[in-house]
């Protein structure tokens, strides 16, 4: 059972209710930064008249979770990508790896943690919906099962072909994400990357190489041991005193 969020720019009025609800839910301080940071897990941005949200996309196959050496980031069955601050050792590879630049860091702390939206995983477990979707007055952010949201999104595209840019962002991007977007303007105009490297899940780029490691170890070991044995054996044979010198030269 995988849940997700569907965000629709045509319904967003830019009230920032989601931002406030998110801060309250996660105990984050009021601030005026207006960008994703250790204090803002989501932010409402605007481009001309179009308002859109930034937040963790909760990838189906997340780059951050594949990058984390201690499995502090995990994709849950319910959809959210969650983070365990106690496991984290602070290498920040998740921040480097994330194709959406979502994880942020507490740079000012001597005991820092990674911060990002976890789709209110605690609320989900108690049967509630994420705080942002709960707070949204216009239904610009709705919560539901991912497959239902996808159906809904395609329905909207079909019902109002002129209103929307004909694409559900997140259906296939980066291997599919739990957070889906509909927009009235082309996604690249909002800074959303499409196509190219985003056509597949990012962990695949690494796994192609990582999966060869057992082979490298096995073949490398056998190859080198064989090489050593052959060379060593040859030198032993050369050292042996042969009574007759076939090559006709004097022994040293």
């Amino acid at each position: 059972m995988s849940y997700g969020l569907l965000f629709d720019t045509t319904k967003c009025i830019g009230c920032e209710g989601c931002m406030y609800a998110c801060r309250e839910q996660n105990g984050l301080p009021d601030n005026t930064e207006h960008k994703l940071s250790a204090q803002n897990y989501t932010v409402v941005k605007s481009k001309d008249d179009v308002y859109y949200r930034q937040m963790c996309m909760h990838c189906e196959d997340p780059a951050c979770a594949s990058a984390c050496p201690v499995a502090a980031l995990q994709k849950t069955e319910e959809g959210p990508v969650v983070y365990d601050a106690n496991a984290c050792m602070g290498c920040r590879y998740c921040m480097v790896a994330c194709p959406f630049n979502v994880p942020k860091y507490e740079w000012g702390s001597a005991n820092p943690v990674v911060s990002k939206c976890v789709m209110c995983y605690d609320r989900l477990k108690e049967g509630e919906i994420p705080a942002c979707a709960d707070a949204c007055p216009t239904g610009a952010t709705i919560f539901g099962k991912r497959e239902d949201l996808l159906k809904e999104a395609h329905q909207r595209l079909e019902d109002n072909p002129d209103t929307y840019y004909q694409h559900v962002y997140g259906e296939h991007e980066a291997g599919g994400t739990s957070v889906l977007y509909l927009s009235s303007v082309p996604f690249p105009d909002l800074g959303f990357e499409m196509g190219g490297y985003y056509k597949q899940a990012f962990p695949e780029y690494t796994w192609k190489v990582m999966k060869e490691i057992p082979n490298i170890v096995a073949f490398g070991g056998i190859f080198m041991f064989g090489l050593w044995w052959i060379i060593n054996r040859r030198m032993e044979l050369e050292d042996e005193v042969v009574p007759m010198h076939e090559n006709g030269k004097e022994d040293k």
Partner: protein, 401 residues
């Protein structure tokens, strides 16, 4: 009086380099305090836009690359059985061992929660390149400690452990080569997951292969670099014929590396990026031109190889090239996508300098008190043979006896 005696015993005459050392360490300690008590934000120029900087790019990625002389020389001497290189193997292994210890210290500076570093041993994620690098660095440092242990056993005349460890040499060397192959290449694999962020001058599916090749080639250069400095610091004879052979090997390896790069660019159809008027292009050409093409040409000239100083500078250029390559991948190539420029803070630089200084000091101290430089028996003229360090070691081997 006693104080003066203590000073003589432990510090000795204050020379220029000693003074530099103490200043660098003092500043480094100050920066370390700021870093651990006030966090990464207070001590570094890292940010949400640019989470990795000098410490990952230099202390870790470059440090591991420059320590590759340990496994390359071990393979040459013990697997390919080219015993002539034995006189330079101990310093090479010591350099590698100290290098890896410093890499680990560097990681402890960079990690946000360094006290959790042991988590990598118990909380596994085999999909993570970082997980693999962590394990390989841990295991290979252990292997290096064991490879170095005969020096300690010899010093204290512990015959039994010496015998045991010597009987395991080949196994250790093979293990070391496998572990090194894995993590030298994996440091390149770290960036496979950021195709959209790393500049196309450096991003390639062949990153791990590139990293491995450049590590092997800089391993040879580092042995020349370190032998030259040692010969001057300890007033000992330079193993010149050996180093000249290593330089020939390095030329061959640089050529392979450049051919690989060329094929890679052709495969990706990326030659256009080489001529765009950008900062990245400039850094790329400095890396390839100054750090690979120039030393390849220089070291391929026999006259230059025969000149100690020229040999040293040629090898140094190879080192510079690999340092630039690692920094270009970790920093230069990542700036464009980050939409910000990063330059290290003075505190980041001071901690890196402190680690380098500690490395030099530790090498000096160990070399002074332990049998690092073996007495080399002069080789009779009739036994002098040409040794080829190349892809066909067997041929060379048959000549060696």
């Amino acid at each position: 009086m006693e104080l003066a005696a203590l000073k003589d015993r432990y510090i000795g005459k204050i020379t220029f380099w000693k003074a530099v050392f103490f200043v660098v360490v003092a500043v480094g300690i100050y920066s370390s305090i700021v870093r651990y008590f006030f966090g990464l934000g207070a001590s570094t120029n890292l940010s949400d836009q640019f989470p990795w900087g000098l410490w990952i790019g230099f202390d870790v990625m470059t440090g591991v690359a420059l320590a590759s002389g340990g496994f390359t020389l071990a393979a040459v001497v013990y697997i390919f059985n080219i015993k002539q290189f034995k006189p330079v193997i101990r310093p090479a292994i010591l350099t590698a061992f100290l290098g890896y210890l410093l890499v680990i210290v560097g990681i402890l500076f960079d990690l946000g929660k360094p006290w959790n570093i042991w988590h990598v041993m118990v909380m596994w994620n085999p999909h993570s390149v970082m997980f693999e690098v962590g394990w390989c660095v841990m295991l290979y440092t252990t292997v290096l400690a064991l490879e170095f242990s005969p020096v300690v056993f010899e010093k204290f005349r512990m015959e039994k452990p010496l015998k045991i460890i010597k009987s395991a040499t080949v196994v250790l060397v093979i293990l070391g080569v496998i572990l090194s192959t894995l993590h030298q290449s994996s440091l390149g694999s770290l960036f496979l997951i950021v195709p959209e962020k790393l500049h196309p001058l450096w991003y390639s599916a062949l990153l791990p292969v590139n990293f491995f090749f450049s590590a092997v080639m800089v391993g040879f250069a580092m042995v020349i670099f370190e032998s030259y400095l040692s010969s001057r610091a300890f007033n000992k004879r330079l193993e010149k014929p050996l180093l000249m052979e290593l330089a020939r090997g390095a030329v061959f390896l640089i050529m392979m590396y450049l051919i690989l790069k060329f094929i890679d660019f052709a495969r990706r159809d990326a030659f256009g990026y080489m001529f765009e008027p950008t900062f990245e292009t400039l850094m790329f050409w400095l890396e390839i031109g100054l750090g690979a093409i120039v030393p390849m040409i220089l070291l391929s000239i026999p006259k230059i190889r025969r000149n100690e100083t020229a040999l040293f500078w040629g090898a140094s250029l190879v080192v510079v090239g690999v340092v630039m390559n690692r920094l270009n991948v970790a920093i230069t190539g990542m700036q464009g996508a980050a939409g910000t420029t990063y330059y290290p803070s003075w505190m980041e630089v001071s901690i890196t300098l402190m680690l380098v200084a500690l490395g030099f000091a530790a090498f000096r101290m160990i070399a002074k008190h332990f049998p690092i430089f073996e007495e080399t028996k002069p080789i009779p003229a009739s036994h002098k043979v040409k040794i080829k360090v190349s892809a066909k070691p067997k041929k060379a081997l048959m000549n060696t006896n």
